[in-house]
């Protein structure tokens, strides 16, 4: 799988002095600055409640910053209209911590959802989806529904759904949180494979053991509402 080429050659994501507060409370995130380059691999880490998911939501634009500038794929998000936002989201893939699979749909239908949303005819993507499901080891479960799957199978389905449209940037929120170390390691190798094929990866995790498996990966560490970039 090849990720789509980055048209301007710059950062995929850039945060400049971003701050976020809820109401009159103190800032949850203060002066956050970092960037994500094409085809890069990084972990976003920090203690539970430090704001990892919040940063992912800021990238996905389901939250707006209180101050600072966020640029996604070279576009200032403050200037984005709804159609522009939709277009940006179509270039990203997201793996949720709680999977967010649609329980009433089959595994095949769940994974094919991004194509369906984009209005593509089923005949144009069916083979592609089935091939991906086989590649991640779910080829025998295409007609199964999420409630009968194990945690690992659900997680792989969620990853397949995020990947199927070949995003330029993949965001994963605690993707191995509910898995045993062996399965977590296998999923991590899957992310590495994806990265090699051109997708930039940002994994939010507090699992130090997991991060140590990828030598040389950049770490964005959240501590006391601030972010430090290591590596």
């Amino acid at each position: 799988m090849q990720a789509q080429s980055n048209r301007w050659g710059g950062e995929l994501v850039r945060f400049e002095n971003v701050g976020l507060r809820y109401g009159a409370a103190p800032e949850t995130l203060t002066d956050i600055s970092f960037s994500i380059m094409p085809q890069s691999f990084q972990f976003l880490t920090g203690a539970s409640g430090s704001g990892k998911t919040t940063i992912l939501r800021l990238i996905l634009q389901s939250l707006k910053p209180t101050r600072g500038m966020i640029s996604i794929f070279g576009q200032d998000t403050a200037q984005l209209d709804k159609d522009g936002l939709t277009a940006l989201r179509r270039r990203m893939g997201i793996v949720f911590q709680d999977f967010r699979l649609l329980d009433h749909l089959t595994i095949y239908e769940n994974v094919a959802l991004p194509f369906k949303i984009r209005g593509r005819m089923e005949s144009s993507y069916r083979a592609e989806v089935i091939e991906l499901l086989k590649w991640i080891g779910l080829g025998d479960l295409i007609d199964a529904k999420p409630p009968v799957l194990s945690g690992g199978e659900k997680q792989r389905t969620s990853i397949a759904r995020a990947l199927v449209s070949q995003p330029e940037l993949l965001l994963a929120d605690e993707p191995t949180g509910n898995l045993d170390p062996v399965l977590a390691g296998r999923l991590l190798r899957l992310f590495v494979e994806l990265n090699r094929s051109g997708t930039a990866i940002l994994i939010a995790t507090h699992d130090i053991g997991l991060m140590e498996q990828i030598k040389g990966a950049r770490r964005l560490v959240l501590q006391n509402h601030h972010l430090q970039v290591e590596g």
Binding site: S62, R89, M92, L105, P114
Partner: protein, 317 residues
């Protein structure tokens, strides 16, 4: 058949079924969905029955009006010193000559007493009481005679003559018919408003229940129009189900009414249908109206849910 063949066939069949389920992107909530279908069913039934009864009532009223306007009654009150039978014959002879009169019939003394029996008791108890006599005159409703001229002529020639062209009844019937139509139209509007409100609440409930799914759609690049379409399709399907059930029940009830009237001469007379098939003239119109109500309710469900989704999305996510 080997187990592999069986498995393959099952997979093909499963895939075939899945093709039909891919449209239902809103997670089904059996309790809420069934309740909404039941509400739409009841409201469609009331709306369809109202529409059917309006058409049926209008047809019956029109028939009554035709019957009333095709007959004139001439009443002769006994006058001292005059032979009422001779006056009746003279009046009848005159009426037969009038242009636009198609039939003249004098009600005999016995027939008149029988007609009065329910109010005045048996003829024997009336003794020698003088009672008015009646001439039934059938006229051509398309080219009616000049009733005013006839009235004046009869009053001049035969004292004690009263001509009743049922005008006051026709006016009252028209008023009644119009009132019925206006009241039913208001009833229909109220029922459809109640349907729309039920769908608004159901859509909001479904959106809150599917909040996470809506968020997933957004993150995968769905826009508001796509999400609105997903809910619209879901509620159109529920509306259509409720609408078809309501329309079917309304058709059954009106069909039963038709057979009840068709099987009873008394009811036929009451509704003014005579020997004709009571619903033949309006039957097709009623069926079309009921089907139209069911389709309109489905359309309403679809449009209302779409607008509700658009107005709720910004607050939800």
């Amino acid at each position: 058949m080997s187990s592999t063949d069986f498995h393959n066939q099952r997979s093909v069949w499963q895939s075939f079924l899945n093709r039909f389920s891919t449209d239902s992107l809103v997670a089904p909530d059996p309790l809420t969905d069934r309740t909404l279908v039941a509400v739409i069913f009841i409201l469609t039934f009331i709306a369809a029955l109202t529409a059917g009864l309006v058409l049926f009532g209008s047809a019956a009223t029109a028939r009554w009006q035709v019957l009333l306007s095709s007959e004139v009654t001439v009443q002769l009150r006994p006058q001292p010193g005059r032979a009422i039978d001779a006056d009746l014959n003279r009046a009848a002879e005159y009426l037969k000559q009038v242009q636009g009169v198609t039939k003249v019939r004098i009600y005999s003394q016995d027939e008149t007493l029988r007609m009065l029996e329910p109010w005045l008791g048996p003829a024997s108890s009336l003794g020698g009481l003088s009672i008015p006599r009646m001439i039934a005159v059938e006229i051509n409703p398309d080219a009616p005679p000049d009733i005013q001229a006839v009235t004046q002529q009869l009053a001049k020639d035969i004292p004690g003559t009263v001509v009743d062209d049922h005008r006051s009844w026709t006016k009252r019937l028209t008023k009644l018919g119009n009132t019925l139509v206006v009241a039913s139209a208001l009833g229909l509007i109220l029922v459809l408003t109640a349907t729309a409100l039920a769908i608004v609440f159901a859509t909001r409930g479904a959106m809150v229940g599917n909040r996470e799914i809506v968020e997933v759609f957004y993150f995968m690049g769905a826009d508001d129009r796509y999400i609105a379409r997903v809910f619209q399709r879901h509620f159109f399907s529920l509306g259509l189900r409720g609408g078809i059930l309501g329309a079917c029940l309304a058709l059954i009830i009106l069909g039963a009414l038709r057979f009840m009237i068709a099987g009873s001469d008394g009811l036929k007379d009451i509704f003014g249908f005579g020997a004709a098939d009571p619903l033949s003239s309006v039957g097709v119109a009623i069926i079309i109206a009921i089907v139209a109500v069911a389709l309109f309710v489905s359309f309403l469900a679809s449009v209302v849910s779409r607008f509700t989704v658009h107005s709720t999305l910004s607050r939800l996510v």
